[in-house]
Subunit: 199 residues, 2 copies
Amino acid sequence: MSKRQDVPGTASRILDVAEGLVQTRGFNGFSYADVAAELQVTNASLHYHYRGKAELGEALITRYTSRFGQALDAIDRAGDAAPVKLAAYSRIYADVLRQGRMCLCGMLAADYDTLPDAMRSAVVLFFDASERWLVRVLEQGRADGTLEFTGSVVEVARSIVSGLEGALLIARPYGDVSRFEAAADRLLAGLATSPARHH
Amino acid sequence: MSKRQDVPGTASRILDVAEGLVQTRGFNGFSYADVAAELQVTNASLHYHYRGKAELGEALITRYTSRFGQALDAIDRAGDAAPVKLAAYSRIYADVLRQGRMCLCGMLAADYDTLPDAMRSAVVLFFDASERWLVRVLEQGRADGTLEFTGSVVEVARSIVSGLEGALLIARPYGDVSRFEAAADRLLAGLATSPARHH
DNA sequence: TATGTTACTTACTAATAGGTAAGTCGTCAA
DNA sequence: TTGACGACTTACCTATTAGTAAGTAACATA
């Protein structure tokens, strides 16, 4: 019933290594051999767990999206005001950058033209899910007066996603987390009402 | 003294093709063979004009940066108000997207970890040049009252660069130029004072 | 104890990668 | 007209790519 070994299991350790490689080098910037070498298994062993690079890529996005969703759920459960939720959201990105990584799906957005169809759809689903969560937070914040903005909620949600992804993208060549933080803070500061005005 | 043929010349046609490939597929998503096939020359001919992929990449960034600089000079020569200049700046990005492309240096920012040193420096120079131009425009706009913003000019300039690059990045999976435009408009609308207030 | 099943390995393969050495062919200046 | 030069091509080469076929050792179940 349970796995023989409860050390993570090769399938998920393959995902761990591949995830890091995609987030730093892109989907066309790593090979099965890179993953195999780091795990000290053979190339063929990877093919046992994931039929091909396309399937590995799909599994990568699926797991990443589900973990991201869990992080968003955790933010929801904390039950803070909308501006605090948005700050927590941007902290997810900052943490990725602190590991010297790009957002997995941001990286794959750059590689989009070269991706197999199943991966393309999965990337879009990630951004859609992010957008839906942000829309809910923005609506909450506007309703309770903690957020203030012009234009549609969807447009604001999209500009947050693209603003944070862009800030990640540009911060990496400069190796400078504070560059990301400054951009993220500006982005979100433009939405929050001054604390005095709340309620 | 002048070229035998004034049809573009192979060296620059190589750059044209490679540029398109990098902007759509990334630096690790194309090969010398792809470029050679499209130009109907041999692989070895590319090596004659550019010693290796690293040198080709460098030439690509240098030309792109210089063309970008020319576009910025043209905006300056038009002598419009700062908000108009910023709109023209964002139009450069929109035009790239309309060709189904990512900004060359935005794409290379994603590939950054895999790039040779010379290419890395050149990418950073591109962003620095963009930032310097934006800083001048922002200072001009603040001085003449056409722009209004909190925080340092440099931070605003950086948030414009990363905001536009991110909007490009995310718009491509959706194949939707209007997604970019909406984000770009929001980004710049937050800086302009209402026309009535000018001077 | 036979029969699977899981998680691999060894030993390949064909295609593609970037790159090189040596030659060819037309043009041009002396 | 000769010889140098620019712009290539032919013919390689080696490493790496993703991927496969067949086997095996360890365990589990009946």
